[in-house]
Amino acid sequence: MDIICFIKQVPDTTDVKIDPKTGTLIREGVPSIINPEDKNAIEAAVQLKEKHGGKITVVSMGPPQAEDAMREAYAMGVDECILLCDRAFAGADTLATSYTLAMAVKFIGKYDLVISGRQAIDGDTAQIGPQVAEFLKLPQVTYARDIKVDGKKIIVERVLEDGYEVIEAQMPCLVTCIKEMNKPRYPTVSRILKACKELKIPYMTAAQINCEKSRIGLEGSATGVKRTFAPEPKGLGVQLKGKTEDVVKQLVKHLETDNIINR
């Protein structure tokens, strides 16, 4: 069973601070990590491989720095890594990114399952998986917490707000995972060494995976970011003290001053 696994390198948002002046993320000194739910996807893929054999190829779109994430994925047990790295990919929204990833999947060609995390912690869109499935015309199962393979079918537990569904899908298909899926393993020391000393990560450009120029990067994006900002912090609260009657009067006055009520 051959699996393609998408991963994204993201800033560790548990460490991220926001510059109060510019409202943008302070990325300096913030460690980059594999997007947590993508790690669940890697673990799910490795478990499936341990059970059913096959090969796992990790695909990521990003700058050369994303190699670190791929080495970590390799140390966890995947077989091959491909980095989609091209200046032309820069500025892509989810549509352009999904198209690019779909083209990479077509380029790889042989696969039974495409798997990824539900969403990345730096964007929280959860759009990539479903859009890639649409591009590739694959059945898709999102929010998966368990995957079983039965011949050419997979049986997936899909989490809903108030329960879960059991869904059967024909392979090839696409699945996005949530963190309840599994506990990602620690890489072993020897795999870390192999990942650093032996693993070769091929870079693929837009042309190599046959992308149309107008459909990738900024040009291929249907949406744009107008402004990034942090919500303004609320001011300190005011505690009204005194007899109930006085407190009510004070409160009404405050509400009037703030134009919340009018008399």
Binding site: D68, R71, E72, T188, V189, I192, L193, A195, K197
Partner: protein, 379 residues
């Protein structure tokens, strides 16, 4: 000299830190309180390759350099010094002498199980009357036909409660003193071998220190490690390597003390502000951080020396001497910053100061380190 960590060293650090934070830290207090050997944790670490980091891949190890090993020990020590010494003994005091001195058959038989976490190893040199004077061994090994018969006892043996493979020293020739000492690979199940009293320790509780007793213990002759009479040299060479691990352990405990002290200093308020705003505390923290960094560099230097040159006794002794005395100062300051609370079992620093003390004692006391260092100078 490049002080930047390589890619794999950085990845090993990250992995060890994550493992320590998520898997060891939550258990560390209980391991200390219950004094119970964390065998499941040790096995888990073995599977990840922590127990035979520098062992050649052909014998089940990961094949890392010593620098990577010290980085991992430091990270594990931040969470639990007891777990760190369990790991350090397997790597430095068992795998290292096996890799260096064992023949192919012995390596094949014993190394993979320890390096992959199937079995725990221990190093049995110290005796009631042979501590710093390790040459004064009283355990006797008499060769009879195709085996040695061992009689005697060893004390303070880390991992002894759960180890299945022991590197053990005994006199094969009483007349030759230290030159009559030989090393053996002992299996727990050999007839006449048993574990005696389990020590009740001040610190590194749960690391399985116990007495080891040989009462007409039958050891196959093929389990002699190295040549007859080569034991003292094997022991001393092994301890040189072990000291780098203990030095790294000291740095890890000290780093944990600094982390705790900084956190507490910014939370605890006196005179209307966090105590970290007072110069008295700031100076202590600055001194701790500086000394930790100095010790860390000595550890790296010793590890690098072991990776690149034949002799590293002096570098290892300096790293261990400085780091172990440094961690006593650092943990003392951390308790001081915590005030009365630091003297209670509710705070981690209370454990850290108890754990720290052993680093000045085992694998050669501070006095022995000074002997080694000065011995290299005053020839």
């Amino acid at each position: 000299m490049d002080l930047k960590l390589s890619k794999e060293q950085e990845m090993i650090r990250q992995m060890a830190r994550e493992f320590a934070d998520k898997e060891i830290e939550p258990l560390a207090e209980d391991i200390d309180k219950s004094h119970k050997y964390p065998i499941d944790l040790a096995m888990k670490m073995g599977k990840l390759g922590f127990m035979g980091m520098m062992v050649e891949p052909a014998f089940g190890g990961a094949g890392t350099d010593t620098v990577s090993y010290t980085i991992a020990i430091e990270e594990i020590s931040r969470a639990s010094a007891a777990v760190a010494i369990i790991m350090s003994v397997c790597n430095s005091l068992v795998c290292y002498p096996l890799q260096k001195n064992a023949n192919e058959a012995q390596k094949k038989k014993y190394l993979p199980d320890i390096a992959t976490g199937k079995k725990i190893g221990a190093f049995a040199l110290t005796e009631p009357s042979a501590g710093t004077d390790a040459g004064a061994q009283q355990t006797i090994a008499v060769k009879k036909d195709n085996e040695y018969i061992l009689n005697g006892s060893k004390i303070f043996i880390t991992n002894a409660t759960n180890a299945e493979t022991f590197i053990l020293f005994a006199l094969t020739d009483k007349t030759k003193g230290a030159k009559g000492i030989s090393a053996f690979i002992i299996e727990k199940g050999f007839p006449g071998f048993s574990i005696g009293t389990v020590e009740e320790l001040m610190g590194i509780r749960g690391s399985g220190q116990a007495e080891v007793v040989m009462d007409n213990c039958h050891v196959p002759a093929e389990n002699l490690l190295g040549a007859e009479g080569a034991g003292f040299g094997i022991a001393m060479g092994t301890l040189d390597s072990g000291r780098i691990g203990v030095a790294a352990q000291s740095v890890g405990i000290a780093q944990a003390a600094l982390d705790e002290a900084c956190k507490y200093a910014m939370e605890r308020e006196q005179f209307g502000k966090p105590i970290g705003k007072f110069q008295a505390i700031q100076w202590m923290v600055a001194d701790m951080a500086t000394e930790i960094e100095a010790a860390r560099l000595l550890v790296r230097r010793a590890a690098q020396a072991k990776d690149t040159q034949k002799k590293f006794s002096s570098e290892a002794a300096m790293a261990k001497l400085y780091a172990s005395e440094m961690v006593m100062r650092a943990t003392t300051k951390a308790v001081q910053i915590h005030g009365g609370y630091g003297y209670t079992k509710d705070y981690k620093v209370e454990r850290l100061i108890r754990d720290a003390k052993i680093t000045e004692i085992y694998e050669g006391t501070s006095e022995v380190q000074r002997m080694v260092i000065s011995g290299g100078l005053l020839k």
